[in-house]
């Protein structure tokens, strides 16, 4: 029996701040963009909600930047050798923000009842689960049907937020009035939400970790305009700009300011990877030579340097290099317009128009699409940008009404959670923009993906995934673009802000301000 016991969270904390003693008090102003639609993490799991509600709700585990599990609501845990039984020992003396005691029943309710209904992504992992039980108030046991390597990564706050049973049991979750005033176990309590302006969280005085949190309060500021967000940081009105909250062009300017620090850490769990879906079903993009031509036509280094201001890394394939099971033994696609033209010539491309669907997430993505369009038109591809907003993008991608479509997806620490969903035939489902939208079908590879997910040892899995990567890169079902890096910009006197693989989503728990 392998016993994975987190030696102590104290070590991690001391490592991050070796000498200075943490100082108590102070207030942190963090930009949140866009304004979250709601704060009930069990119902909404988009980025902004995770950012704010990650301080209110907790899950059983946290993950360090090497994606190793750390204690959170679970003090310790063990996984049986056959990989089928996960046993968690919960902290004692934890209470909900309303004073009710937190018990193992809450965990069972959350995972087995609440989230099964509301949380699509978790539901996929829960499919491997036979049962969830609470032998006593501080123990929870997950019994799996078959081994599922990545399961240990499912206990992150955004993936499995623990919600209060006493509030939600037997109610209509979506319309429960308490959604407006979320109750969690986290280090900060919800205070007020001035819609369109800010969300105010205050210190949870009864937090179960002695001394934590250090901050008195956290303000999440809603500033809808990127330039205004930059100004707000400069004028000192906000202290933290989470990744993506200012345009990349502004990043160097801001980080050069005195007393300003930045870090690219804190995204390891998500490892966002950007690509363009290429419609494998019809049009020129259904021809593998055309897809390869697209890869050769794009100057991806230019985009990385100019559009992303040097942040990130050109992607080589479906798996991000920062995650486990990455392999660089694949065919490289360097910028080579001549080769692209030759491929187009070979396939007999007739100049059929190709629509590019940009991701409607702001100027960076728009510029990116423009640069790609320009690259493509330079090799003779008749490319046009399709304009759309968030709704239109969702509709078009999920209805497969596109030729090339930008997107980026989180990898959730494991190819089985975040990667294979985009390439296997069983994930071709009209109506959702988060699956195999390109329509890539390769039964041989499907089997390999499936096998790799349920292998027990990491070594076995690594080998399997390397093989998959090598094969799929030659097929170019999608045009892999870039491993995204979203630098977090903050004032240097804010310490220990980014200590986990989800960064500031749960960062304020440990953060403190140096006087």
């Amino acid at each position: 029996m392998t016993k994975l016991r987190a030696t102590t969270f104290l070590i991690a904390a001391t490592l991050a701040a070796p000498l200075a003693a943490q100082q108590e008090g102070g207030r942190l102003d963090i930009v949140v963009q866009p304004e979250p639609p709601g704060l009930m993490l069990g119902l909404v799991q988009n980025g902004p909600t995770q950012l704010v509600a990650g301080d209110i709700y907790e899950s059983l585990l946290r993950y360090n930047s090497d994606l190793e599990p750390q204690p959170s609501l679970a003090e310790s845990w063990e996984i049986s050798d056959d990989g089928l039984t996960y046993t968690f020992n919960l902290h004692e003396g934890v209470t909900w923000h309303d004073g009710e005691p937190f018990t193992a029943d809450d965990v069972v309710f959350s995972a087995d009842v609440f989230l099964r209904e509301t949380h699509a992504r978790l539901r996929a992992s829960l499919a491997y689960v036979e049962s969830i039980t609470a032998p006593d108030d501080t123990t929870v046991v997950f019994q799996l049907k078959e081994p599922f390597g990545p399961f240990i990564n499912a206990f992150e706050a955004g993936t499995m937020p623990i919600v209060p049973k006493h509030i939600y049991e037997g109610t209509d979750y979506a319309t429960n009035e308490m959604n407006a005033t979320p109750i969690g176990t986290g280090p900060f309590k919800f205070e007020t939400w001035e819609k369109g302006s800010y969300i105010h969280l205050v210190k949870n005085e009864d937090y179960y970790l002695e001394g934590k949190p250090y901050l008195d309060e956290v303000y999440y500021r809603v500033i809808p305009d990127a330039a205004a967000r930059a100004v707000a940081f400069e004028t000192g009105e906000v202290d933290v700009l989470p990744g993506g909250s200012v345009e990349n062009w502004d990043v160097p300017r801001l980080t050069e300011m005195e007393g300003v620090c930045s870090t690219g850490a804190g995204w390891e769990f998500f490892a966002p990877l950007a690509w363009m879906w290429m419609n494998n079903r019809e049009g020129p993009t259904s021809d593998v030579r055309f897809r390869q031509a697209v890869m050769y036509a794009m100057d991806r280094d230019f985009v990385k340097d100019v559009v992303w201001n040097g942040f990130g890394k050109v992607a080589t394939g479906p798996v991000a290099s920062s995650t486990n099971f990455y392999s660089d033994d694949v065919t490289p696609y360097d910028y080579n317009p001549e080769k692209a033209e030759a491929l187009l010539e070979e396939m007999g491309y007739d100049g059929a128009p190709v629509r590019i669907l940009p991701l409607p997430y702001g100027e960076t993505w728009q510029r990116w699409a423009e640069a790609v369009r320009q690259n493509l038109s330079e090799v003779g591809i008749n490319a046009e940008i399709d304009s759309t907003d968030v709704a239109g993008w969702n509709e078009k991608t999920s209805q497969w009404d596109y030729d090339l479509a930008f997107t980026y997806l989180y990898q959730y620490g494991d190819p089985a959670l975040g990667v294979s969903r985009n390439y296997t035939a069983d994930r071709i489902k009209k109506g959702s923009p988060w699956n195999n939208v390109e329509g890539y079908e390769n039964p041989e590879l499907d089997a390999k993906w499936a096998a790799a997910a349920t292998m027990v040892t990491p070594e076995e899995r690594a080998a399997a995934y390397a093989e998959i990567q090598k094969e799929i890169v030659d097929d170019v079902p999608v045009a892999w673009l870039q491993e995204l890096e979203f630098p977090t910009i903050y004032r240097c006197d804010v310490k220990d802000l980014v200590t986990t693989a989800i960064g500031i989503n749960d960062g304020p728990r440990d953060a403190w301000i140096e006087e």
């Binding site: 305009d225 990127a226 330039a227 930059a230 100004v231 200012v246 345009e247 062009w249 502004d250 300017r253 230019f302 100019v306 559009v307 940009p358 409607p360 702001g362 100027e363 728009q366 510029r367 699409a369 423009e370 640069a371 369009r373 320009q374 046009e384 940008i385 399709d386 304009s387 759309t388 907003d389 239109g392």
Partner: protein, 277 residues
């Protein structure tokens, strides 16, 4: 009339400016070797820092001067066409309402009022978002939100012309009502319509640029509003990227307004008429 117009300094300045803008728009391909989308140099070159790129480069290293020139095409085209479409909606509606009166008028005016009650810019945003931003949808959306004043103006003019005695004379001549409207009444409402149209082109250009600014422009057409919108996020480090297109809009709209005022003074000299003994 031309004499009155040409003696108006402001109007002549407007004509000169507008002709310059039109010329730049038409001859853009001759004036600039770079496509406005082509990435030609490193990004964020300041104006006048490199030969051949007088206004510098934008966030992707594209030629700003070339973008301005091509942007003029979109602004003028959208301004002109949307105004024409708005006239096509507003003139007949206003003419019918003013000429036939009664329930036709009542119905047409309720309809117009209804459109005037919805904040026009908000409606334009929704229309463009729904039909997806293309030059056509933008043009139509602008036309849809700008016809009500035309209808009101034409209605008022037609009502006043309709009461003039020559219209009675035409009826007595046995002309049919549609013919009277077309040959007797409408020609007499042309002057104020022309004046309004010139001002509407200006407003349409502003509207188009506002939409583009919000990201609701045609992504395949370079326009001034797009340039400002795209440069907004870098306004701190590269102010010129939003400054020059802004100036271009101001100049064009100003020119159109000056011309409109000049036309107004020349075509509707009711103020000067009263000076006579």
């Amino acid at each position: 009339m031309w004499k009155r117009f040409s003696s108006n300094i402001g109007a002549m300045i407007g004509v000169v400016l507008l002709v310059a803008v039109i010329a730049i728009a038409i001859f853009a391909p001759l004036l600039f070797s770079h496509d406005p989308w082509q990435m030609v140099q490193r990004p964020f070159l300041a104006p006048f820092s490199m030969d051949g790129l007088p206004l510098g480069t934008d966030t992707l290293g594209r030629d700003v001067a070339s973008q301005l020139a091509y942007g003029a095409r979109v602004s003028l085209l959208v301004g002109l066409v949307s105004t024409l479409v708005a006239l096509l909606i507003g003139v007949p509606l206003g003419a019918l309402a003013g000429f036939y009166g009664n329930w036709v008028d009542e119905g047409a005016m309720r309809f117009t009022e209804f459109f005037q009650t919805i904040p026009n810019f908000a409606l334009a945003i929704v229309l463009v978002a729904i039909f997806e931003p293309t030059l056509a949808s933008i043009t139509i959306a602008i036309a849809i939100v700008s016809w009500p004043p035309v209808a009101r103006l034409v209605r008022a003019e037609v009502m006043s012309v309709r009461k003039r005695e020559f219209v009675d004379a035409a009826r007595l001549a046995g002309l049919s009502r549609p013919r009277i409207l077309m040959t007797q009444v409408l020609p007499n409402t042309v002057s104020p319509i022309i004046v309004m149209a010139s001002l509407m082109v200006a407003t349409a250009i502003l509207l188009e640029s506002s939409l583009s600014f919000l990201g609701l422009g045609d992504p395949n057409a370079m326009s001034w509003g797009y340039m400002i919108g795209a440069a907004r996020t870098v306004i701190r480090s590269a102010w010129w990227l939003s400054f020059f297109p802004g100036i271009a809009i101001v100049i064009t709209v100003l020119a159109l307004n000056l011309i409109g005022e000049g036309l107004n003074d020349a075509l509707n000299p009711h103020l000067s008429r009263k000076g006579k003994a």
